[in-house]
Every structure is written in structure tokens, then in C-alpha cells.
Amino acid sequence: MNQVCADVEALSVLIAEDGAADRLLLATIVRKQGHQVLTAENGEQAVALFAERRPHVVLLDAMMPVMDGFEAARQIKALAGEALVPIIFLTSLSEEQALVRCLEAGGDDFLAKPYSPVILAAKIKAMDRLRRLQATVLEQRDQIARHHNHLLNEQRVAKAVFDQVAHAGCLSAPNIRYLQSPYALFNGDLLLAAYTPAGDMHVLLGDFTGHGLPAAVGAMPLAEVFYGMTAKGYGLAETLREMNAKLKRILPVDMFCCALLLNLSFQRRVVEVWNGGMPDGYLLPASGGEPQPLVSRHLPLGILAPEQFDDTTEVLPLALGERLFLLSDGVVDTSDENDQLFGVERLRRVLAANRQPALLFEEVLQALDGFRGRSRDDVSLLDIEVVEPQLLSPPPVIYSDSGQSSPLDWSLQFEFRADTLKRFNPLPYLLQLLQEIHGLRAQSGALHSVLTELYSNALEHGVLGLDSALKRDARSFASYYQMRNERLQALSEGFIRVHLRVEPGPRGGRLIIEVEDSGKGFNVSKVLARPVSEQGLCGRGLNLIRRLSRRAEWVDEGRRACVEFAWEALA
């Protein structure tokens, strides 16, 4: 039998056989098949030769002196490690037990004596196939591991970049508690919070469709818009419009971002809410009781074109000690082995039963653990307490100029008419202007608050004619804001004039703000005379303005407010 297998790759084959004639015969057979042959006379030689030359296939005689085939096989397999080195036992053992011993020692196959060249060739070929298969598997495994590490590294980098974008947040404020998984970004979960120049807080809890880098990539432009506009003093509606337009433009059709946004004013004790696709948030009463849900009324961000986007917000009054509790859908969607959902009911029970606010998070997490037996890492929780504004300390605005030259003697007048009033908020532009007055920078927060208050009074009570007494209690509060939106949409005439005058003084300078509206005016002395505690939700605005400025008065039957700020020259 003389067969040269031209289609077989030349392997290196180790033959360990103590019979000289048998060894010679086998070596010749294998060499004839196109392979390179190494020979050993006993197990010890075989192991040493294997370690040195690393053949592809090993033929081992089971019974050899010095070290028998079984021990040699064990040692060779150990040396081979992860790689597969096929071992074919040469044996004339026929008993089942002996054959089993061969397999247990690591043998992959047998060759019986007398040797058949045909069978030997077939076995070597088959063993080689297995060897190459194993090598491929290991290589692919290593490739996958490298690729995986690469991806993990990319995610680390992406997160580092994102953290830079998000660093300006105010999540560390003393009245905020939050829980977020470190991998939240890559689950598509987003939690942003920032102070407005007036000292209010904008908060966003969001959930992008998808996972991993695609979700993270969408989060960055969103965060940029959120932080940028909030810092400039834009309101929630404008920020929402801008975020929606941006996402609509850059994201593919099937990607969107569910979001719940809050605009909390601790000074005015109101919260503005917009929920598009997120689970209910809750307003928790100060001393326990039924939580009030903040329901999703809008489509998520990034779906509707700008013309169709609805930026209508709900406005709710706040009382000291009340809390806003927001959560991602990981809570309600937690399921047990029977695919039962934790659900809204169980959550509401936990909220209603809570007695100590500091323990609320633990109680929610415990309820989840108890339900499912295992905790999830994609749950985000946020708890914001309504506190006195003095407790919060927004960071001072950082200006990009040197602070030296500043226009000190100028005046400017704007008139905003009906159509403009509907969609345009002039405050950010006015505030930008006023930043130029370096001397006023220390009172920046107060300035923003006062301007905001003056403008909203002029718009709501003046132009739209809403009676501030309507904001007396929580129930009528909601209808007040509904009416506000209706009247604003229907507005066809009216105006607000803003006159800014800056004059230098002997030791510094002053800014005089006049805001005039086309409304019917009000009984100034009567409103101002009301004790503060009775004023409740309404009317606090006038006192706030007085408190924050150097001087404030209302003339022209309340249609024109004159407010003055002053500053000392900087040393």
C-alpha cells in the first residue's frame, strides 16, 4: 500500500513506540504520507521531544518502559494547554477497560496492531481536522475578546466626554437625592439638572431608545442644549422646542428620547412640568398621603417636526416640605420569574406608606428586591425637596471677558406686540445685555428673578388680563395656567414695553428698568397692603421685586413698573 497524500498538509508527527521494528514500520508509513516524523522510545523521551518540537499529532504506544503511554499522554496534554494535540494510542489492548483507560488518559483515538496504513492515514487526517478546528475557535475567541475590550474602551472614552458636557449640573444641591447606575448613560438613561440664572432649577430625566453608544451619542447634543439654554435663562418651553428640533434633525426616524422636565422655582413655589413618554413622576405631600402623579401627556422628544411640537406645560403650586419624586421605567418594568410586572400600584403603595423621606429610596429598592429577588442596575431615582431658596447656593456666573470696560451710560427700549408675545421670550436677550454691566454681576441672580417676575406679571395680569387672585389655591391654579395658554394662543393685540436705562453715579451707577403693559392695571396700594402670609401663591411677586431691588414702584395705575438696581464702582 503506497499512498502519497498530495492534498494533505505536511504535519509533524511524534511516534513513541518501544519496539524498534514497530517504530521503524510506523515511521516509514507516516513519512510516506507526506509528514515529518519524530521518534521516541519511551514515554519520558516522548514528553521531552513534545516540549521541544511541539508536533501536531502524537502516536503513543500504551505500554512503554520508563514512563508508560498513559502518563506521557497526561503530561503532553498538560503541556499543550488550550491547544488541541490529538493523541492516537497504539495498542493491541483489547479489553474494554484498557481502552477506557486510554480515553481517560487523554487519548483521542486508537490504532490497533497490526498497523493498517490506510486506517492510520484516515485517522491522522481526521485528527488534524479537529486540531485545526480548535485552533480556529481559540483564535476567534481571542479576536472577540480584543474587540470587546476595544468597545469597552470606546464606551469609557464616550462617557468621559459626556461627563465633561454634563459637569455643570446641580445634582449636588442639598435638597436633591438621586440614584443612578454608573452605566445609565449606556442604558439610555439621562439625568440632568441645572440652575437658571434666576436661581430656579431645570431638571430632566430621560430615556433614549436603544442601548450603548447610539443612546449615548444622542444624549450629548441634548445635554448641550439643556445646559446651554438653561444657563442663558431660557424657559422650559423654548428649551424643549430646541431639544426636540435638534433630536428630530439628527436622530434616525426610529430613535427618540422619552423625557420628563421640571422647572422648579423655589422663590415662587411653583413647578412647571412636561412629560413626554416617561412613567408618572410624583408630587409627594409634605406629611404623607396620596401622591399626585405627573402624567405623560406628550410624545417623546425627536418625533414631531418643530411645527407640530407641543411645548405646553402643566404648572403646579408647591408647598414647603413637598417633594418631587421621579423614576425611570426600570422600576415599574421590573418583572419576576412569572413575567409579572412590579407595576404602578405596588409603587404607589410604597410611596404612600413611606414615613421618613430619607428612607424612600431604600424602601423602593427593597420592594423591588423582594419582588424580583435580584436587583436591576438600570433604575434611576430622583427626589427633590421644596425648600427655602436661601438654602440653595447657585454658583456664580463665570464671565468670559476681563471685567474692565463696561458701557455705563445708555438706554434701550423694546416693544413686544401680540404675535411676538405668543412665541418669543425676550428675557434671555435682555439678560445678555445686562451682563455687560460689570458692576451688576454680583446681583445677577436678583436681576434675573426681578425681570422674570416683571415680565410674567406684565404678560399674564396685564396683557392677558388674568386675575392673580385665581392662583389662590391648588385647584384653581391648574385652571389659571390653562386659561393662560388659551388666552395667549388667542392673543391678537396688546404690547409690553421694556425700557432699560443705565446711568453712571458718583460712586458707581444705576440701572432703571421700566416694564409697561397694555392691560387694565390694578390697585397697587391694595395689593401691596396685603400681609405677606395672606398673599399666598399670588401677589408674592411684588414683594419679591421690592426685596431684591433697591427701589420698586408701580405707576400709571399699575400698568408700569419702575425698578432700580444700583452698584458701587469696583475697586
Binding site: 500500500m1 503506497n2 518501544d18 519496539g19 524498534a20 521494528a21 514497530d22 521503524l24 514500520l25 516509514t28 508509513i29 510516506k32 505500554m63 518502559p65 493491541s92 496492531k113 497490526p114 498497523y115 496504513p117
Partner: protein, 115 residues
């Protein structure tokens, strides 16, 4: 009688496989077998005896010495599973069988060197 001692087909297959190495194979086998025989006679315990019988069985079967291989198989079996009685006899039979096949292999070696 020589047909039973050596399977001629095996020899011709061996010659085909070994080609120029056939002569060397015959000589190696003959030298190797002397060693095996002295191992058989000089075995100090059952293990050594069984081992020698096993190895001789293997090499003689590879070379086509079927009767010899069979005798060695019997010896190995008797050593491992008994009865040990009459083992000496078996070893003597092996001696005789080997003597017979040795002659035949020598003839074969002669034939090849000339041819």
C-alpha cells in the same frame, strides 16, 4: 507448514510500504525479537513477563507472524488471568515457533538482498 507461520500477504504489503527500507525492517525485527525472547526468559515477576509477551505479540503481528503472535497473546492472558500452571510450556512453544519463523525471515532477507 510455513504458510501458517507467516502471512505472506502481510510481508508483501510490508515490502510495498517499506520499499528500500524493507531489508532494514527485517533485520530490526530479528534483532528486536532476540531481545524480547531474553526478556521472556529473564522476567523476574508477572508484570515483566506480561509486558514482554505483550510487546512481542505486537511486533510479531505487525510482521505477519500470526502463530507467534497468537502464542504471545495466550501467554499474556495466562499471566494476567491465570492459570499460571504450565506457563513454562507456553514459553517453550514460543521459542520453537520463533525458531521456525526466524528461518523464514532469514530466507526472506536473503531473497531481498539478492533480488
Amino acid at each position: 507448514m510455513s504458510e501458517i507461520h507467516i502471512d505472506r500477504k502481510v510481508l508483501s504489503d510490508l515490502q510495498e510500504v517499506m520499499e528500500d527500507g524493507y531489508l532494514q525492517l527485517l533485520e530490526t525485527f530479528l534483532a528486536d525479537s532476540e531481545i524480547r525472547l531474553s526478556q521472556l526468559h529473564g522476567a523476574k515477576n508477572a508484570d515483566e513477563l506480561a509486558h514482554a509477551a505483550h510487546s512481542f505479540k505486537g511486533s510479531s503481528s505487525n510482521m505477519g507472524a500470526v502463530a507467534l503472535a497468537e502464542l504471545c497473546r495466550q501467554l499474556e492472558d495466562r499471566v494476567n488471568h491465570g492459570p499460571l500452571q504450565g506457563i513454562e510450556d507456553l514459553i517453550n512453544q514460543i521459542d520453537r515457533e520463533y525458531a521456525a519463523v526466524r528461518g523464514l525471515y532469514c530466507d526472506e532477507r536473503q531473497r531481498v538482498s539478492i533480488g
